[in-house]
Symmetry: C2
Subunit: 360 residues, 2 copies
């Protein structure tokens, strides 16, 4: 069955999702304010893939965001620091019955969409379908698809139906949680990136070619562990017992569990370490500091959980970049997170169980 799916976002992740859907026999269409950067022929874009997906794929480019209303499912593939500019204007246009799926949803963005549009089903994935990047030769290099993606949903259709939609489109890899907080807090990227970036800031700034896991030293490991302890303590205060960063790396990279820096060394030996960011203005900071770290810090504030290492990383990055990353996260105020209570937030994040999901 060919499904009509729209993708918002023309970056590597959006293009990889489009390529996956084409290969799976679907007919995705894409809207993005930056789609002009893609190779196009009239209203179709062509992307040539290498890696986990191969060959050329073609998909429709939408000339106006108004056309998104025609699609029953819309997958949002945006870095969180593009939410306000790109997703904000779309919020008025969603129609009842649509299913908006936010890939790698940070900072409870699905709640914000759900609050803006009555009757819309909104699903958040803890992470993206895969990672990918455009090579210098223009090819899209797609890494292996993630075997497991945690998700949660809000809306009338319920968790089971939302999970089924995701699986029909993107394969059997989705684990549905009862609360949007679960995928939001299960995302280990913001804390891992902060620990990787801060002790390597001058390498980024100087455009050095540096191995991300090759420079995952004991210092990086201890920093990551400190951040991870705080992430899980915050999650626990919301009733969520989450796997540790070690467990996550063991699962993702198939290396034996141990101290993080020895796991990183094993990842390097397996030839699986990408290079770290070679510019300061990188999503590991611009996206993850406001929408990852500041979000966790704010939840810690709600639940009265101390987060000194999170706060240290945020304040240090703010000073190093001369930029108030906490203020960059417009979602905290938009969702009224400062000043809310644990119970209130839990209730807002709970998936409305549909008859189907209740019957599980």
């Amino acid at each position: 069955m060919t499904a009509r799916v729209a993708i918002v976002g023309a970056g590597p992740i959006g293009c990889a999702a489009a390529a996956f859907l084409v290969r799976a026999g679907h007919a995705p269409a894409m809207w993005s304010p930056t789609a002009g950067r893609l190779r196009r022929d009239r209203d179709a874009a062509t992307v040539a893939c290498t890696g986990a997906l191969q060959g050329k794929v073609e998909f429709e480019l939408l000339d106006s965001p108004d056309r998104l209303a025609d699609f029953p499912v819309v997958l949002v593939c945006l870095p969180a620091n593009a939410y306000a500019a790109v997703l904000g204007p779309l919020n008025a246009g969603w129609r009842s019955g649509q299913h908006v799926v936010v890939s790698g949803a940070l900072s409870l963005a699905p709640l914000w969409i759900a609050a803006a549009a009555m009757g819309v089903q909104v699903t958040g994935w803890a992470t993206t379908l895969t990672t990918a990047h455009f090579q210098q030769d223009g090819l899209l290099h797609v890494n292996p698809l993630r075997s497991r993606i945690d998700m949660a949903t809000v809306g009338a259709a319920g968790a089971a139906s939302a999970r089924q939609t995701c699986a029909q489109l993107f394969g059997e890899r989705f684990v549905a949680a009862d609360s949007l907080l679960a995928p939001a807090l299960a995302n280990i990227n913001p804390i891992a990136h902060a620990a990787e970036v801060i002790p390597n800031l001058t390498r980024m700034e100087s455009g050095e070619a540096w191995s991300l896991f090759g420079n995952f030293t004991p210092v990086v490991g201890r920093l990551a562990e400190g951040l991870d302890r705080e992430r899980r303590a915050v999650a626990m205060a919301f009733g969520l017992e989450l796997p540790s960063l070690q467990q996550h790396y063991a699962r993702s990279y198939h290396v034996p569990q141990g101290p993080l820096h020895t796991m990183a060394a094993a990842i390097v030996r397996n030839g699986m370490s990408p290079n770290g960011p070679a510019v300061l203005e990188h999503r590991y900071v611009l996206e993850d500091a406001p929408f990852g770290l500041a979000f966790l810090e704010a939840l810690g504030g709600v639940a009265d959980v101390r987060t000194p290492v999170l706060t240290a990383c945020l304040s240090l990055l703010a000073a190093a970049y001369a930029r108030d990353f906490r203020a960059d996260n417009f979602l905290l105020d938009a969702l009224g997170i400062p000043g809310t209570a644990v119970g209130t937030l839990l209730a807002r994040c709970a998936a409305a169980a549909s008859p189907a999901s209740r019957a599980r």
Copy 2:
């Protein structure tokens, strides 16, 4: 006139001070629990100098700390993280009328000595006479002597007399302040080192050969500026208007004042950048975090001055090293700094003006 001066500490700074005194015609003696590392002939040590001081010098090694009581002036050349172990046991032995001078005094150590021994004059220098290091060939490389050293003193003899003693021994380079807080807060090393170290931690840890000022990037500069603003705000709350880090670098390195990273680039062009630390366990962290950063943070607490960047750097280093650097500073509790008031601390740090200094 040959003066009898004892030096406590056998590191590069203590040896450089001894060499300077020998060259100036004095007869220094040294006591250190680690003096065994020096080349010695019976009770004399020999140090061969290069750089700003040249040639071999010989000075007496004291076989017991009890002998320090014989010396009218004792110069303490210790990293602050050796205060507790080395200086602590000496505090019971000072005799009335002695003058103890603490070179590069951190965290108001002179107050601690003065409180332990009645009638002792205690002077704190904001920095050391010079910087120096032992080369692999065993030569002591001595950098140019500092042209200005801020100092302050507590005790009956008064500021003018203490300044005169320092100048007679070490030359005309001393500027006496009215309060021990002045040299303690004028020391820019702890904040500069924190800014230099944190974004380069993996370089230190991997033993990389990295240029300290060559890696003084805009990120390092902004971090240093953030820390410097807080240092000066704390000083201002104690009535001290201090020169900025920029002014300090302009004076020390003879480069035009500007953004810190451009000043650092000029220092590199002038061939004046040393390499950064190539080990994690380095005084830039082990000494400066507890006795510099935690001290400033504690003074901020006393004066109700917000210090988020200082706190961020301290908490980040604590997480990265898995070590409570705040607890490492025993002086904070020994001096009763948490819980004291600005006026109380100012009164304790004020130099007792002697008739001579009143007459200035």
